[in-house]
């Protein structure tokens, strides 16, 4: 039985790891594909939060993560706005993808539990939403639709594949014993 405090600490540690990885390494120019694809690996922290997290807590976590990114990259509120939108729409997507008999209490966002189809749809929808919001806000308009669209598509594929690999490699195959 994992206590609530332990769970909170574990999630905080995950968040720090994802954010540190993104800020220190992945955001560098060496990891940008063709100047069009960015790997927003910190979305892994937001997307893989427990399913039952209260909506207000989710939104606050999204905002804090986003504003941290904005502090580092001097972008005002672009990351925060996109992350808050992502966290607001996450329960909707989860509801849309509800299995036939609903979510169990111990269900988590885990490819080994939910199956690869569920995970691919989940990741594709949410990263696409986030990247669309992010790049449209970043460019300030849709004056250059070609570049914005290319950035959105390539970054969605890039981030989605990376998160899928993280799921396959690092997430436990068996359910946590409760």
């Amino acid at each position: 039985m994992r206590g609530g405090v332990f769970e909170i600490l574990w999630q905080a540690l995950r968040g720090i790891l994802y954010i540190a990885l993104y800020v220190l390494l992945i955001s560098g120019t060496d990891f940008v594909l063709f100047n069009l694809g960015w790997c927003f690996i910190y979305l892994g922290f937001l997307l893989f939060l427990p399913i039952a997290t209260p909506i207000v807590v989710q939104l606050l976590i999204g905002f804090l993560t986003g504003i941290t990114m904005d502090l580092f990259f001097d972008t005002g509120g672009v990351h925060a706005a996109a992350a808050v939108l992502l966290m607001y729409l996450r329960p909707w997507v989860l509801r849309l993808l509800t299995p036939r008999d609903g979510y169990d209490a111990q269900d988590a966002v885990n490819i080994h539990q939910m199956g690869w189809q569920w995970m691919v749809v989940y990741l594709a929808m949410l990263t696409a939403i986030h990247h669309t919001a992010f790049f449209l806000l970043e460019l300030g308009s849709i004056q250059v639709p070609g570049i914005a669209l290319a950035k959105i598509v390539i970054s969605t594929l890039y981030t989605g594949l990376t998160l899928l690999i993280i799921q396959l490699v690092f997430f436990p195959t068996r359910r946590r014993s409760r």
Partner: protein, 308 residues
């Protein structure tokens, strides 16, 4: 009141969402329009510290490129060090007009005989010994005949017989080149000889290697009447136009007089540590062809170039 609280609780998701979203957009708009706020930007001390770590981590990915460009720059700077054969006979740079403004500007620079073009000095001729930077990809030190392989080849302009130097001193001569690689015979080769000079008094001698100790070589053909001092610097003489004049070879460590010879046997400690050699320069010698031609016409046999 209860109804209001119930309403707020019922729609807490969308309310918090709207609040945070408006806050983000407010920050975005203010960030792009007005002066940055004191806290919310990357000049904050903690953020600066993290960004500093970030630069350190990401610097590792660029080390190869940085090394490459530093090597190129070193080669350019180093070829200015080697005095051309014609030095003292032609001006270093082109003459300039004598009007007062130019003269006044040049007086500030301290080089009265240079042409100013956008405040840059133009040299009057190309360097006599252009350098090709290279990296050692394999080497031997423990055999009697030692070779090094460099990662430059004929496409970079390397030709057989060119000299190779490093920042510390003389390394060897090019033996074979392929398109992208070059094998050089190092100074540590039983048949390699280098014309050298003791810097203090200008005594000319020949550097040879006996094949035992990779840190020492012998300086031969120094006449017995010359006075020698321990610690004297031995440099290349520039007599065979393979190496420019004055490249360091090593320092005199000890000398003995052989009983039946008219020459000193001088042990010289090499300046180059061959076990740690990484970056070297291949020396292109522009005056060599002309010098070889005039020497051949005079009937002097070219110095025995070793062809093992």
């Amino acid at each position: 009141m209860n109804n209001l609280l119930a309403f707020l609780f019922r729609y807490r998701g969308i309310l918090v969402f709207a609040l945070l979203e408006v806050l983000s957009l407010f920050l975005l708009v203010r960030n792009s329009t007005y002066q940055r706020a004191a806290f919310f930007n990357s000049s904050n001390a903690y953020v600066g510290q993290v960004l500093d770590w970030r630069a350190q981590i990401q610097g590792y990915f660029r080390l190869v490129d940085v090394n490459q460009s530093l090597m190129q720059e070193n080669a350019r700077l180093r070829q200015q060090l080697y005095r051309p054969d014609l030095s003292g006979r032609v001006a270093d740079s082109l003459p300039v007009s004598q009007d007062s403004t130019t003269q006044a500007r040049l007086a500030l620079l301290g080089r009265p005989d240079s042409l100013l073009l956008g405040l840059r000095q133009l040299a009057a001729h190309d360097p006599d010994y252009p350098l090709i930077p290279a990296r050692v990809v394999s080497s031997t030190q423990r055999r009697v005949d030692n070779y090094l392989t460099l990662n430059v080849g004929s496409v970079d302009g390397v030709k057989q017989g060119m000299g190779v130097v490093s920042a510390d001193g003389v390394v060897g001569r090019v033996k074979v080149t392929s398109e992208h690689y070059t094998t050089i015979t190092s100074v540590l080769h039983s048949k390699s000889t280098i014309s050298a000079r003791i810097q203090r008094d200008g005594t000319i001698g020949t550097i040879r290697w006996l094949g035992d100790d990779p840190t020492h070589v012998l300086l031969d053909n120094v006449p017995r009447q010359n006075k020698l001092v321990r610690g004297d610097t031995v440099v290349t003489s520039g007599y065979n136009a393979v190496f420019p004049e004055g490249v360091l070879v090593g320092r005199i460590e000890s000398f003995v007089q052989e009983p039946d010879k008219n020459f000193w046997t001088v042990r010289v400690r090499l300046a180059v540590n061959f076990s740690r050699l990484t970056y070297v320069y291949v020396v292109t010698s522009r005056p060599k062809i002309e010098r070889d031609t005039v020497e051949a016409r005079a009937g002097i046999k070219p110095e025995a170039e070793e062809r093992p």
